[in-house]
Every structure is written in structure tokens, then in C-alpha cells.
């Protein structure tokens, strides 16, 4: 019952909620980002990061340092924290935490299938996979020739199995179909996660519904913009939109028939929460859209920490860490390529 979570939440979730709030206090602040943006080399970045919580993970790295190493070690820290939380969680929190990683699993599956299509080595692809989305039989994905085999050989044993019912066809895997497969899987995952949160009820469902609705709407806009000018038909496009969110169902109708970015902008400006995002962009510009969406997402995630006794804080923490790792990657790349003037183009401050 909404409003009375405080009475019983702490029985199973109190300790982990306090732990995740402790982790949140270790996120990099604006002062840290300012220091990092003024670094001259990757060694400076390593030195600044050693003073933060990433210290133990980076201090044993030999120089010369690569940007990929920095990102890898920071991701390792996130994975360690996630595993610590997962092994101490009980139901339904453990299921909730597992749901958070299914998005990465989908990305890993698509990565391996695409890489195999372009005839890359399986080991090399496995190293590029996101550690949060690994599952046991992932290497066998390289063997499959079409989607039906993919499902039958590997995916039926994974948590992604129920998401495949919509996209099992005997079509061969090529680039277009793989992207469609990725978006179909992600749509099924988002809807499943949304239903699960609704079942949990209370503050968790309210806060997670808001965050997931924003995610669904953002993906709808991205799918629309990316498929303008390709051979994806309108019906196919509409099939990739999730069936919840602010844009459902009328916004989806309008987005499905949009043919350029200004039409998309026209659709989105009818919705007040998204109007502020699109008003920041001048006409015809879509590069800053990603950053505007990230900023809005970060704002909503930070707001979820304002309330106690719900599971939204776990999801928000994982997403904020991922945003921080993206920031670090951007800063490292700018520093390594000596383009420090562009550093502020893509860094989203969390606090």
C-alpha cells in the first residue's frame, strides 16, 4: 500500500538501501570533474582518480595508460558493487537487481552476433562485452546461423528467453535484421520490467514507472530519428515502440509517420516534459539531442534518491554510475587526443 512502505521495507531492504546510498555518496562531484577536465595527460587523470573511490582499482595499472583501461577498471568497480548487493539481496529485490542487467545482456548478444557476422574472433568479442551482461553460454552465440538457431541453442536457457517470442524467424542474420532484433528484444524487456514494477506496487512502482516511461519515450525518439531515410517501413517502426510511456499511443502514431527531424520536434513539443528538451536545440540539429536526453535522465534519477524505502534507488545508482563512466571515457578521449576544448560537449554533471 503506497505510503506505508516505511513499516516493513527495512526488514529485507533496509541494509542494502543504506549501502546503496553510501555508494551514491562516492559518485564524482562537479569539483572532481573540473579537476579532471583540466588534466593534461592520462597520467594526470589516473592521479586525480586515485584520490576518489576509484583509487584501489587504478593504482596498479602500469603506464602507459590507455583510455580503454581506465574505462575497464571503472566498470569493474561498478560490477563489484553490483555483485556485493546482489549476493545479499532477497526476493523481490534480487529479481529487481537482475532485471537491471538484462539490457546489458541484450547488448552483449547483439555484439557477439554482429561480430561473428563480420568474422571477428570470438575471444576478442568476449573481451568487449559488458561484464554485467555476461551469462554462461555466451560464447556459443558465435555458432548460430539464424535467429531460430540462436534461440534454440543458447538463449532458451537465459533470462532473455521470454523476449524472443516476437522475433524468432528463419531469416538470416544481417545488419538490418540484427538492429531490428535488438530493438524488439529491448522493447520486450522494458515492457516486462514495467509490468514487474507495477506488480511490486507502492513507491517502487510509482518511481520506476516514471523512469521507465522516460526510457521508453527516449528509445522511441531515437528509433525514429535513426530510421529516417532507411528502408524500415512505418509499420515496422511502430512495432518497435513500447506500449507504455507518455507518448503511447497517440505520440507513437505521429512519430511513425515522421520523415525528418523537424516533424519529430513538432510531435515532441506537444508534450510539456519533452518540450524543454527540444527547446534547447536549434532547428535541424540532432547532435546535442543525446546530451539533452542524458541530462534529463540524470535529473530524474537524482530525484529518486529523495524518497526512502523503495527499490528505485538501486536502478538509479546503476544508471548514474554508467553515466559517470561515460563521462570519464569522454574526458579521457579528449585528453588523449588533445582536444580539451570539446570536453564540455558531452560531460553531464551528476550533482
Amino acid at each position: 500500500m503506497y505510503g506505508f512502505e516505511a513499516l516493513t521495507f527495512n526488514v529485507h531492504g533496509g541494509y542494502l538501501e543504506a549501502i546503496v546510498r553510501g555508494y551514491r555518496s562516492g559518485l564524482l562531484t562537479a569539483a572532481d570533474y573540473n579537476n579532471l577536465c583540466q588534466c593534461e595527460s592520462l597520467e594526470d587523470i589516473k592521479m586525480h582518480l586515485s584520490a576518489t573511490e576509484y583509487g584501489p582499482y587504478l593504482q596498479n595499472e602500469p603506464s602507459p595508460l590507455h583510455t580503454t583501461t581506465i574505462v575497464e577498471k571503472c566498470t569493474l568497480k561498478l560490477v563489484d558493487e553490483y555483485k556485493q548487493m546482489l549476493c545479499q539481496a532477497t526476493e523481490p529485490l534480487s529479481t529487481f537487481l537482475e532485471y537491471i542487467t538484462y539490457g546489458h545482456m541484450i547488448d552483449n548478444v547483439v555484439l557477439i552476433v554482429t561480430g561473428t557476422l563480420h568474422e571477428r574472433d570470438v575471444q576478442e568479442l568476449l573481451e568487449k562485452c559488458h561484464p554485467l551482461g555476461m551469462f554462461d553460454s555466451i560464447a556459443t552465440l558465435a555458432v548460430a546461423q539464424n535467429m531460430r538457431e540462436l534461440y534454440r541453442l543458447v538463449l532458451v536457457d537465459t533470462p532473455l528467453a521470454p523476449y524472443f517470442s516476437e522475433c524468432i524467424t528463419s531469416e538470416d542474420l544481417d545488419d538490418m535484421n540484427i538492429e531490428i532484433m535488438r530493438n524488439t528484444l529491448y522493447k520486450a524487456y522494458l515492457e516486462d520490467f514495467y509490468r514487474f514494477c507495477q506488480k511490486l506496487g507502492g513507491a517502487t512502482s510509482e518511481i520506476m514507472s516514471d523512469i521507465l516511461a522516460f526510457e521508453a519515450d527516449r528509445r522511441a525518439v531515437n528509433i525514429t530519428i535513426n530510421s529516417i531515410g532507411t528502408e524500415l517501413t512505418r509499420d515496422d517502426r511502430r512495432k518497435l515502440y513500447s506500449n507504455f510511456g507518455l507518448l503511447y499511443p497517440y505520440g507513437h502514431e505521429e512519430l511513425a509517420i515522421s520523415e525528418d527531424i523537424d516533424q519529430v520536434r513538432g510531435v515532441m513539443e506537444k508534450y510539456p516534459p519533452y518540450q524543454s528538451i527540444f527547446s534547447k536545440l536549434s532547428y535541424g540539429e540532432s547532435q546535442m539531442l543525446d546530451k539533452a536526453f542524458y541530462e534529463e535522465e540524470v535529473k530524474r534519477l537524482c530525484l529518486s534518491f529523495e524518497q526512502q524505502f523503495h527499490y528505485g534507488v538501486f536502478f538509479a545508482y546503476m544508471r548514474l554510475r554508467e553515466q559517470e563512466i561515460r563521462n570519464l571515457m569522454w574526458i579521457s578521449e579528449c585528453v588523449a587526443q588533445n582536444q580539451k576544448s570539446r570536453v564540455h560537449d558531452s560531460v553531464v554533471f551528476i550533482f
Binding site: L7, N10, G14, Y15, A18, I19, R21, G22, S25, Q308
Partner: protein, 176 residues
Amino acid sequence: MVGSSSSWSTALVRISPYTFAAIGIAISIGVSVLGAAWGIYITGSSLIGAAIKAPRITSKNLISVIFCEAVAIYGVIVAIILQTKLESVPSSKIYDPESLRAGYAIFASGIIVGFANLVCGLCVGIIGSSCALSDAQNSSLFVKILVIEIFGSALGLFGVIVGIIMSAQATWPSKG
């Protein structure tokens, strides 16, 4: 004696006042301890988790646990006071109006104290949990949230005061 002997009111007044008194005493201690325990576990679980990142908060935030514990102590005190009010009366006078009044007074006192302490313990526990989490992030917040807890713990005190006043008038009829 009342005329119609099969009405509910007759049944009620034929229950011995000692039953009501004993139940009142049981509720006063039992439900108070329930409230205190509930509050302590709500505070304690958050406190332990938050103290991993910020060990300095442990000693100050034990005050929240102490406020919850005080609620249980109120229940014990009132239970002891109430049980000293029990006196035996000769069996001819058990169902006198004065006896009934004494029994009901003790029962009401027990309920007042028990349930006031239950909600007080819950209130202090929830605030204590938020206090621990906020203190871990920003130590200047501790004293401000402590003020809220003090107001919360006053609720238990109100219950104890009214309960003791109720029980003061629990006079059984004198023998003879």
C-alpha cells in the same frame, strides 16, 4: 439486576473486572514492546548499512535506538503501576458498579499506554532511519532531525501521562 437476562449488555457486565484489568496490563507491556522492537529494527538496519561508508555516525545515532527503547520502558513502568492497583474484593462485590469501574479503568489505561507507545516507537524508528542515512551524507543534518525525533517521542509520554491519570481513579470497593 437487569431484567432480560440474555442481552449483550448483561453478558458484558458479567465478565469479571479482573479479566479486563489483566488484559489491560498485558496490552500495556506487550504492545509497547512491539512498538519499541519495530522501531529499533527499522532504525538499526539502516544504521548498520550506512555506517559501513561513514563509521562516524554510529555513536551519535544510537540516540535514535535509545528513544525507541524508552518507549518499552514506559510500558514496563505503567504495567508495574497498574498491577499494584489490583486488590481483591469479596465475591459479593465483584459485580458492583465500583468494581466494574476500577476494572475498566485499568483496562483503558493499559490500552492507552500500549497503543500510544506502539505508534511512538514506529514514528521514532522511521525518523531514526532517515536520520542515519542523512547523517552519513551530511553531518550537519543530524541535530535538526533529532529535534523531529524528540517531538515524536513526546507522543509516548502523552500516553503514559493519561494512562497514569486513568489508573489513579481505579479504586475498588472497600471490604465490609
